[in-house]
Symmetry: C2
Subunit: 503 residues, 2 copies
């Protein structure tokens, strides 16, 4: 079986190499590409995607997977078994989707995104509704292809695309507890005087913010011989090679916190990607990948929120920050700064939400998208359902659909099942952190003394290194000793905000 | 035959698309790629190159070319016939080279370039000689494969790679006249007092130079919605798509002229690429390409030297340049500036040579590389042959091989047959210019009044638009009414330098 396995690795490396090339094509499109090149670039990306797909569904890969599967795998090392599981999952999924459906989805989401941009700018849901109806219909067909007739919930099949092993029921159970606790905490916070944060809107030049971003990347030990920072409209992290993981940010001159926290967030993603180490045999294969989107978010959000918004992190670093930010932080002390960057206030827009209300935004989307996919909610009723749920969860009612159900790109892009990853990421992060604190009781003191290396070493060993070798559920059990439990996140929030708001 | 032709165009578009992707991979490597990504990037480039090669030599393309060739082509439009000629040439060439030889050459030149970098830094020709011997041997085998047993001169087959239709004999005839004239002109110049140019070495900050470069790109009507400028170690132009042609430069703080003229030079290349318009049917095929390397150089050198180093160009633009260059040009008038940027002085390094001595550097390389390929000169005798010829042509003797036969990268990269393109480019440029002046007698006045649009329009119509539809020999005849004639260049140089040096 050694020969078959080696051949499979060789074939898989070509697929991953094509994915890295596709990442460069997309990165360049967002950063430096001249505007008129956009049509050609879409063709180039589609072409490379097609080459990768062709290879992934190839008869040879299917036969090799079949041959290796039928031996029972008794003589396989754990990493070999994991590689076969991950590649089989990708192959099966690609094979299950008819080429026609893939093409229909690509077309519908391309048109859908253009229609969404237009509809959002005019807050005109009716104009977007037919596109969304078509996308929901195709997503349901996709789910049916992926799950066969076996599954009770079409939505399960979509969730599994982003968070392998999760189901609507398992997420609903977790989100039920979470919702109750977040609403209770929000009530406590709202009974206290609001914190002052107006200085965060003082002007700070883009060049100053760029200097701050470079400095932060250095503090977090992001190896810029294996990555870099560029500016874009919507920040992201992308992997162009195992030694080439790039992040992006943007500089808003009247909101320098935006680049500070997006740089830390994206650096968190990059540290994960750069830390994956599946062993020499599996470098640059499908095993050389993240465990899931939610585990990815756990890393970015841990660095952004649990580290980057903590007093412990800023204690040794705040003097330098206020020097670099100059006038923007003049006369603002460390305590006032830490309070300001942790201000909690229900708002309509998910991407601007604080750590407490963010989860409520996600629960809202989870509930509505599962209803859309199951057919319990019709697309035309989405705006009213959205308004009702925003009122229920956040105590606000969006004045229009642009600030309501038209605010996110995801559904127009066909990303049903993706939203839960964001909230699950927070839960994983808090549970990982609790385990880390148990093993390293002086973790906070270390961070306070400027030592982030122990934290990174722990993450590398436990979470980064295995990459896709563990399913997310296995990973959390292996690292923390128990299944996913939202109480860690609830405890973290309660401790943090009782200090910030003094209750 | 329509169906076969359409299919061939479709297949060829994939090959060109892959070439554009490869160009992005290489552009990124030179501009932004993190250093540790270099090994993976080489693999990515080799992989894409392999995909393109596979397609180019494919049985289907061979059969389609065969089917279309055997009909006699009586019913083909001229652009269709040209497309078949260009694609057949590329296909035949790729088919003639055994995969083993291609791989051997790739390996030998990769090793050769690394050895060359090292040898040049220590001026140690003996360390490089074995690598060069291997490359020369493989180049001779390549030439034999390309030409079959038919050709008298292996070097002809290599010249034809870069300048289709040229031969050693045809170039030797042209260079013979050129050499005599250049030596005579140099003698006249050296009998006159030297011009003053020390102010060109005054410091000028990189940001100022960047502003100057952007301004120049605008003056030359380089459409930055279809291109851009970045900084690199060795400036180049590259085509990532028909609407994505990018240039590069570098900013030497004590030599701002370097970025001024390299920006104009590379913009000349970009204007050519952006102006190729083979008709909708052939967009993004092999017909959508330059006529040859020498025609490409004719465009970059025409803009750099015939426009960018002329008094006519600077008359309306010098005030702005001295404002942007600030201290660097303080107290320097237009006439002194134009004299300084046209200073002639024999020197050892080709890339720093002026317009008069540049041709002598090329003739030296042409003569030596033809002897190396024919076997009349042994690699071990190259340093002494180089020294002798430099003395003969330039009146100088290199004190070491780093400033002698180790100065250029080309031979270590296997680019035998490429050097003549540089000098031919100058000859084409002068001959095109003479034709343009005949049709537009007030060309100089137009340029003096700041009108570069008529010049560009003429180039687009006559030279850019046809792209690869004309062989270079045909192009020069069609545009100028006669075969390549070095006297145009000689006349241009004599007129220019009699003004600069007052004889």
């Amino acid at each position: 079986m050694r020969k078959e396995l080696s051949r499979l690795i060789e074939l898989d490396r070509e697929i991953v190499l094509l994915a890295h090339i596709q990442a460069l094509l997309s990165w360049d499109q967002e950063t430096y590409m001249p505007p008129k090149a956009v049509d050609e670039r879409s063709e180039q990306i589609a072409f490379v995607e097609g080459l990768a797909h062709e290879r992934l569904v190839s008869k040879e890969i299917g036969e090799l997977l079949g041959a290796l599967g039928s031996t029972g795998g008794a003589d396989l090392a754990p990493s070999e078994a994991a590689f076969l599981r991950v590649l089989r999952r990708a192959h099966d999924r690609a094979v299950k989707l008819p080429a026609e459906l893939v093409a229909d989805l690509a077309r519908a989401t391309t048109l859908g995104q253009a229609a969404w941009v237009e509809a959002r700018s005019r807050s005109d849901f009716a104009a977007f509704a037919p596109y969304l109806e078509r996308i929901v219909e195709l997503e349901r067909r996709q789910a049916a292809c992926l799950s066969g007739a076996a599954s009770d919930s079409a939505y399960d099949a979509l969730l599994d695309l982003f968070e392998p092993g999760s189901t609507e029921a398992s997420i609903r159970a977790v989100f039920g507890d979470l919702r109750r606790e977040l609403v209770a905490l929000l009530g406590k916070i709202q009974s206290r005087p609001q914190v002052e944060d107006s200085f965060l809107r003082r002007p700070c030049a883009a060049e100053r913010q760029a200097t701050i971003s470079s400095w932060l990347m250095g503090l977090l030990a992001y190896d810029t011989s294996r990555g870099r920072l560029d500016t874009v409209a919507h920040p992201f992290t992308t992997t162009l090679g195992v030694d080439d993981v790039r992040i992006t940010t943007r500089y808003l001159e009247d909101c320098f916190g935006s680049s500070v926290f997006s740089t830390i967030h994206e650096t968190g993603h990059a540290l994960y990607e750069l830390g994956i180490a599946p062993g020499a045999e599996f470098v640059r294969t499908h095993l050389h990948d993240a465990a899931s989107m939610a585990v990815h978010e756990s890393q970015s959000r841990m660095w952004e929120n649990m580290v980057g918004r903590s007093a412990a992190f800023w204690r040794p670093n705040y003097a330098k920050l206020s020097e670099l930010a100059a006038d923007a932080l003049a006369g603002v002390g460390l305590e006032a700064f830490v309070r300001a960057i942790n201000k909690v206030e229900p708002s309509l827009i998910r991407t601007e939400a604080d750590e407490v209300t963010y989860g409520l935004h996600i629960i809202l989307r989870f509930e509505l998208e599962s209803e859309l996919i199951s057919g319990r909610l019709a697309v035309r009723d989405l705006p009213s359902a959205w308004k009702a749920k925003t009122g229920e969860l956040l105590g606000l009612v969006p004045p229009d659909d642009a600030r309501g159900c038209l605010q996110d790109v995801h559904w127009s892009a066909g990303l049903f099942g993706y939203f839960p990853s964001y909230a699950l990421g927070n839960l994983y992060a808090a549970q990982f952190w609790a385990a880390m604190e148990k093993e390293t009781p002086d973790l906070e003191e270390r961070i306070e003394s400027g030592d982030l290396a122990s934290l990174l070493a722990w993450l590398r060993r436990g979470i980064h290194q295995p990459g896709a070798a563990c399913l997310p559920g296995e990973l959390v059990r292996r690292v923390t000793g128990s299944a996913l439990d939202p109480r860690h996140f609830v405890r973290y929030l309660n401790e943090k905000y009782s200090r910030v708001y003094g209750f």
